[in-house]
Symmetry: C2
Subunit: 471 residues, 2 copies
């Protein structure tokens, strides 16, 4: 990752920021208002490369809904932009500060308020860490599926803001499918409750889903009712090696057309496998062009893996290795989870794309990415949630080399163009943020942009919430 | 059902309707524009009781997207309201005509455009009948779960408009979870594409979900990309008899807390069981106070039914009878599907409520409904998608008896009030329409109403789309 450009912090207390800070302090405890310029600067950006970030005027860390309302009323009164933040693990600059903004960090609102095994719901504050919730519900025999790679640090509020995915989605879907209801503080400080805590409900427009994936641009989520599932059996993983990415993609199509429902179906290309071995000496097979990982958490996972293994062989797999037990399965998943970190180590910096295509077009996308890498003389490793058609082509480059940086950016854009051409989307799970805002319009078209802007206007008429993102 | 009040049709061609019809005919084939007053009147209402309906000026039945655009441009040009309709099987008056409106029936746009087993999607026009789609995808080894009771006649467009549920929802969720993308003709005739045909996608606000359940008030859905699942094994059903509704509800809680995932978990109270026997002589056990039906479509349904049967016995079931095979299972489901028709036969007319509560409060709701029936001296049968906490308390009354009709309406409202008190919603799957519009505001509150009205304004600034519904 490269650090985003951050302008030199201005001394606190100038140009009205005294007023702002004083007003914020009137409704917040002392320790909840951070004005030290170095501290504020440390909240400037998330984990995306190439995204500009400004310098916050102040960082606030409320603990209650009332405190969030106070922040929003103050911001509206003084017309100061507000950038909501979770753990800042995002990959699109969606949480990057703008100059003079209030950074509103929700990380201290981290209580799990309720877990109910009969209604199969959890009620949480936005700052709860994904893994903390997952572990807490496990103790009740329950399961909260969404599992972004950053699950050990990312927050539920951030997951809701970006409608995060993860490895489980091929069977269990994305964050959006687990959000039943929300409490949201609006730009003007009013509190809105959306949705429900029941299994079903169709009273009025679905505002809950409008907030999910809205990247903090419509309101501040302060409470969420989440759907849970019963904990499934431990999953068992299989690894299959292929002589080409095309064969691996063919296997994916055969598996899905065959009616299988794997709990995970991931692909790592040769570049990614090598990068993981270089970083962690995991002994993955470097002779393979593509490694496919499939898992089942069914009552008889070994039988399902055998059926899927046969389909892999029919598609040309040179080797199919089912894990013997949970420990071996976990090792394979660790390799997959290390992919992005490993690719980052290749040349120091990465740009991580997030193109999702219909899974029948996955082979075309990977072939295209290879071509793009060749044309630009770049290393682009691909790991993919193959069962979803969701790929993360990751451009590895030296940020100190201006020419390579330029080519990296160009190839990144070409991959999105290819994704759209193949009937896909520019972002399967990472969001638009700053990184892809020029691309959003290409995907949703002028009528879509017009309506989305008007909806933004309904919720945030002064344009104070996370300005400069999405559009 | 009672027929809704329909005002005497006015002669066509008066007061500008000539202009309207002429303009419509300029872009539609002759047979697609119906002006005969008797014919037009036959399109006045859906299947809800107690909902006012007006007289349409004209009924149009377009076959193409361009024809729908022509209708909307004409309507906007002349400021004529448009009421979109599917099969008019709705139960809330959401498709009822208003005086002088254009009824826009989508029933002739009924092509299944695509079924793809690799991408697991279907692309359909809005007039496709639910059962036709279900059968067509079955032939490809696929499954489209949403199954409203009216599935043999209701259309996918109508299902999308009301975000319909059905019997399968306890395992498979509602219509909303199967709509990936939409083509929508807006009030002014512009064509909007929302969503995607990929498994994942987070580019911009989720407009797709905003349209689902919007009851035709935001735009005209002319094409939908639907998610499919692999066809599961045939389900096996179990019937359990209880001495009280409370015990049956306790069994539901035990089943869900036990981590089971039935493909169906339905409850019929004594009144409903008796009504079904009276109508169809099915030999259901009339000594029971509550009959619970549970089903599994897992690899080993008999084992799952045995576990659930034991939980029913622990909750006090007097008898637990698992079906031996698919045919016996189907008979039990037929009894359940007959419930509403059977209750209608009791006194000639019914009001069907649709309150959904957290399933842990199901027992409280049923107890309350019994109390309300007693107080008003009414017969109220309850069938329920118990696993979802979604109940259909059905008030049986004689519409010729004004006093009984008044008490019916009062009890109907009291049931909704009780549902809200128990943390539930006024509508789990039938929608707001005309029937519950006064109740919507009670559920979503003034901030919610304010925002919903503003969203309506964005999509339909002239207020021409399905006026008088929802708000």
């Amino acid at each position: 990752m490269i650090m985003s450009r951050i302008e030199a912090p201005r001394p606190a207390g100038t140009a009205g920021s005294g007023t702002l800070v004083d007003r914020l302090r009137a409704g917040l405890p002392t320790e909840a208002v951070l004005t030290d310029p170095d501290v504020a600067a440390s909240y400037a950006n998330d984990m995306a490369s190439f995204c500009p970030a400004g310098t916050p005027a102040v960082v606030v860390l409320p603990r209650t809904v009332e405190q969030v309302q106070h922040v929003m009323r103050t911001a509206t009164g003084l017309r100061v932009p507000v950038v909501p933040q979770g753990a800042r693990t995002g990959l699109s600059g969606g949480a990057n500060a703008s100059d003079g903004c209030i950074v509103l960090s929700l990380t201290r609102m981290r209580r799990i308020l309720e877990i109910d095994p009969v209604d199969r719901i959890a009620v949480v504050e936005p700052g709860v860490v994904n893994a903390d919730l997952s572990r807490a519900v496990h103790e009740h025999g329950l399961y909260y599926p969404p599992d972004p790679s950053s699950w050990e640090t990312c927050t539920i509020g951030g997951n809701i803001g970006t409608a995060s995915g993860g490895l489980c989605c091929v069977k269990y879907g994305v964050t959006a499918e687990y959000v039943l209801g929300l409490d949201v503080v609006l730009a003007d400080g009013r509190l809105l409750s959306t949705g429900r805590r029941t299994a079903k409900g169709v009273a009025g427009y679905d505002l809950t889903r409008l907030f999910v994936g809205s990247e903090g641009s419509l309101g501040i989520v302060v409470r969420a009712v989440l759907a849970l599932r019963p904990k499934p059996p431990e999953q068992l993983v299989l690894a299959a090696e292929f002589r080409s990415a095309a064969e691996a993609c063919d296997a994916v199509c055969r598996i899905m057309a065959g009616g299988h429902v794997p709990s995970l179906l991931e692909l790592m290309d040769r570049t990614t496998v090598k990068a993981v071995n270089d970083l962690a000496h995991m002994g993955l097979p470097e002779t393979t062009e593509a490694l496919l990982l499939a898992a089942f958490d069914t009552p008889d996972p070994a039988a399902d893996l055998a059926a899927v293994g046969a389909l892999c062989e029919a598609a040309g797999a040179t080797q199919v290795v089912p894990a013997d037990d949970a420990a071996e399965s976990e090792l394979l998943l660790q390799a997959r989870r290390l992919s992005l970190t490993a690719l980052e180590a290749v040349k120091g910096t990465t740009m991580i794309d997030d193109v999702c295509v219909p899974r029948s077009r996955l082979g075309d996308l990977l072939e295209g990415v290879e071509r793009i890498a060749d044309v630009h003389g770049l290393t682009i490793g691909v790991c993919a949630h193959a069962g979803d058609g969701n790929t993360h082509p990751t451009v590895c480059f030296d940020a100190q080399d201006p020419d390579e940086s330029r080519r990296a950016r160009e190839s990144f854009d070409e991959i999105m163009a290819l994704g759209l051409e193949l009937g896909g989307t520019i972002t399967g799970e990472h969001g638009v943020g700053v990184l892809k805002k020029e691309w959003l319009a290409r995907e949703i078209g002028p009528v879509g942009v017009d309506l989305q802007r008007q909806i933004k206007q309904v919720f945030d008429p002064l344009g104070l919430l996370n300005p400069g993102k999405l559009f």
